[in-house]
């Protein structure tokens, strides 16, 4: 599933400081029944966004008009734990987000994000706190995520931090390539390897 290229993103951000946000919250299991990848934004954070009668929870950041249209979500520590459902990463993407910033990500969610064109940016706990505080003070404050230079900057103050991404994944994100493109190119090497497997 090739996706758009990711270069430099400047946007306001949704704040979600709760820790250990699991993928059952990002998209509950009862909404995993589709056989096509469409419209996963509808049930993104379903039970945190809506009451059981379907009315929106107005205080939940994703429902606040002031943040609407932001392309970045700043999440609490250990974001995306639990189930391997890629639907969680799809729902992030379908909601219009291209980047999630947190001081720690769960492994599978992080990998899924990279595979669908959402950039997971891991920052220090202190810088995450700086970002949360800045958004609370000014909901329109902008964050610049610069993939070529691997930096994330709070534009209002110029405070920034570098983030890590391996050069293979970085190239993929910059160019909109994915792993299948790479793997299909080395098919012969893989089949030679497969022939030697004992079982």
């Amino acid at each position: 599933m090739a996706y758009d290229k990711f270069q430099v993103l400047t946007s306001s951000a949704y704040p979600l400081p709760t820790e250990n946000v699991d993928t059952d919250q990002i998209i509950p299991a009862r909404f995993l029944k589709a056989t096509e990848r469409v419209d996963f934004d509808i049930n993104f954070f379903r039970d945190w966004r809506y009451n059981q009668d379907g009315t929106p929870k107005v205080d939940f950041p994703l429902n606040k008009e002031i943040y609407a249209g932001s392309k970045i979500l700043v999440g609490g520590r250990n974001f995306g734990s639990g189930s391997s459902r890629e639907h969680a990463a799809w729902s992030v993407y379908d909601f219009g987000l291209r980047c999630v910033i947190s001081s720690a990500f769960a492994d599978i969610f992080k990998g899924n994000c990279l595979n669908v064109g959402v950039l997971p940016v891991q920052v220090s706990p202190e810088f995450a706190d700086t970002l949360f505080a800045a958004i609370m003070a000014d909901p329109t404050t902008e964050i610049k995520v610069d993939l070529p230079n691997q930096t994330v900057t709070l534009l209002a103050t110029g405070e920034f931090e570098s983030f890590e991404i391996n050069s293979y994944k970085k190239e993929n994100m910059l160019n909109g390539f994915d792993d299948i493109d790479y793997l299909k190119n080395i098919e012969n090497e893989i089949s030679a390897f497969a022939e030697k497997r004992p079982f």
Partner: protein, 466 residues
């Protein structure tokens, strides 16, 4: 050079290393189910690719299946559609498929080992985070996303950075009423829900050596609940005895050849880990969780800790207790419950039903409790009947349902209603995991049984005789 078990298996599956990137990692066995595979097949077909090694992929329906009246058409059209998609995709691409009603059908992480598909030294993936279960056999097994399911279908490889290595040693003898589930929940409580993120865990020490294969599967299954990608245990005589003669294990000379390899699968003396932890069996009690992640667990007789005594955010902790309608300092024993769920890839095996029956035999289900007893597979059902446990279950006022993931994630009709409290032998107590608004207490089959007959959270040791 001294190598770990993990290094030995991982390194032998690396097709190539990408410079400053992941390893191209070869997959021996790939399980698929109806929820995380349909979009992978769509992707495969839209790119014009085919399934390169169909014999290395195995399909079973489990997440969405009803646990009553499986002989009837599936009522929910969305679930039926996913089950049809799995069946059609498997047929179209020549993949083995155990659908609803098939005698081999059941939860993917139960049927894989049962049928001898899971082997020591193999690499095993599935679009399901509890794939770590198969590590009980000395395999490297972990959950993947749907993009990776497509990668495996179309190339038999994924691109994976090698995780760091952690060893967890538990030594001594477990006390009465303390099960493998309690060992796992104890470790997770110590590590927290994210403590092992970035690591692959090896479990070592006499507690795991003494454990049955079913128990080892329960422990490895829960590795992901502390953030680890997977967990594994070195194969030994018990492993080989479990596997010998199973439907799909190597036979004859192939078995001998496999054994020669499998006997090399252990961590060498002096091999190094990036992190190591030691725990004592005698410190482990029957466990129960009180919050909304599996790391929020404690001995069943303990009281809920104060927020200030813990590491991590106070706000998140209080939000979690607020969801559960619990308060700091509450005792769990004696809390009235509404539901009991015995089953899942964590605790849906024969040993779990034996444990449950050891307590409910000669007792009666409490009137205030609705209980769902869901075996992990048809083979588990057959074994339950062969051992006469079905009679014990019925006599105690319980009903045995048909196999599937069921109320563990409540994709089918087995949903715990909003606000209701359930003692569950499954693996996650996340908000709404067992149905919108449901409240889950994770525990062992013994705690579940003791609570089911008492109607309140109960320490099973009060009902067991030594």
């Amino acid at each position: 050079m001294a190598n770990t078990l993990f290094d030995k298996v991982w390194d032998s599956h690396v097709v190539r290393k990408v410079t400053d990137g992941p390893d191209v990692f070869f997959i021996d066995r790939h399980f698929i189910h109806e929820v995380t595979s349909p979009v992978a097949f769509l992707g495969l077909e839209s790119r014009g690719n085919s399934v390169v090694y169909p014999a290395r992929t195995f399909a079973t329906a489990d997440h969405n299946t009803p646990t009553i009246n499986q002989h009837l058409p599936v009522a929910d059209p969305l679930s039926a559609n996913q089950l049809d998609a799995l069946e059609n995709n498997a047929a179209k691409h020549g993949i083995s498929h155990w659908g609803l009603g098939d005698k081999n059908n059941g939860i993917v992480h139960v049927v894989g080992p049962e049928n001898g598909i899971t082997l020591p030294g193999a690499t095993i993936v599935c679009g399901d985070s509890h794939t770590s279960t198969h590590g009980a056999f000395g395999a490297i097994a972990f959950g993947i996303g749907t993009s990776e399911v497509e990668m495996v279908l179309s190339t038999q490889c994924i691109m994976q950075p090698k995780p760091k290595k952690m060893r967890i040693n538990v030594t001594g003898k477990l006390g009465i009423g303390v099960t493998p589930k309690d060992v796992a929940l104890y470790i997770i409580a110590k590590q927290t829900t994210s403590g092992a993120t970035g690591y692959f865990v090896e479990y070592a020490g006499d507690v795991f050596e003494d454990m049955s294969m079913e128990g080892r599967m329960t422990v490895c299954n829960l590795s992901i609940e502390m953030g680890a990608r997977g967990g594994m245990i070195a194969p030994d005589t018990k492993t080989f005895e479990y596997l010998k003669g199973r439907a799909q294990t190597p036979k004859g000379a192939d078995w001998d050849k496999a054994m020669n390899y499998w006997e090399t699968l252990y961590t060498d003396e002096g091999a190094e880990f990036d992190a190591e932890f030691n725990y004592e069996a005698s410190d482990i009690e029957p466990m129960i969780t009180y919050g909304t992640n599996p790391g929020m667990g404690m001995g069943v007789t303990k009281s809920i800790p104060n927020a200030e005594s813990l590491e991590g955010g106070v706000d998140t902790y209080r939000k979690s207790l607020g969801y559960m309608s619990f308060s700091e300092g509450d005792s769990m024993v004696g809390k009235e419950i509404d539901f009991v769920f015995l089953g899942s890839c964590t605790n849906g095996r024969i040993e779990d039903f034996r444990a449950f029956c050891s307590i409910v035999e000669g007792r009666q289900k409490a009137d205030n409790v609705t209980a769902w007893l869901v075996p992990g597979s048809h083979k588990v059902v057959d074994q339950i009947k062969e051992e006469g446990l079905d009679t014990v279950i019925t006599d105690a006022g319980f009903v045995l349902r048909e196999p599937g993931c069921s109320a563990c994630l409540a994709m089918n009709d087995d949903k715990i209603p909003s606000g209701k409290l359930s003692v569950s032998t499954s693996n996650r107590n996340f908000e709404g995991r067992q149905g919108p608004g449901s409240r889950t207490l994770l525990a062992s089959p013994l705690v579940a049984a003791a609570s089911a007959v008492s109607g309140v959270v109960t320490d099973p040791r009060t009902l067991l005789t030594a």
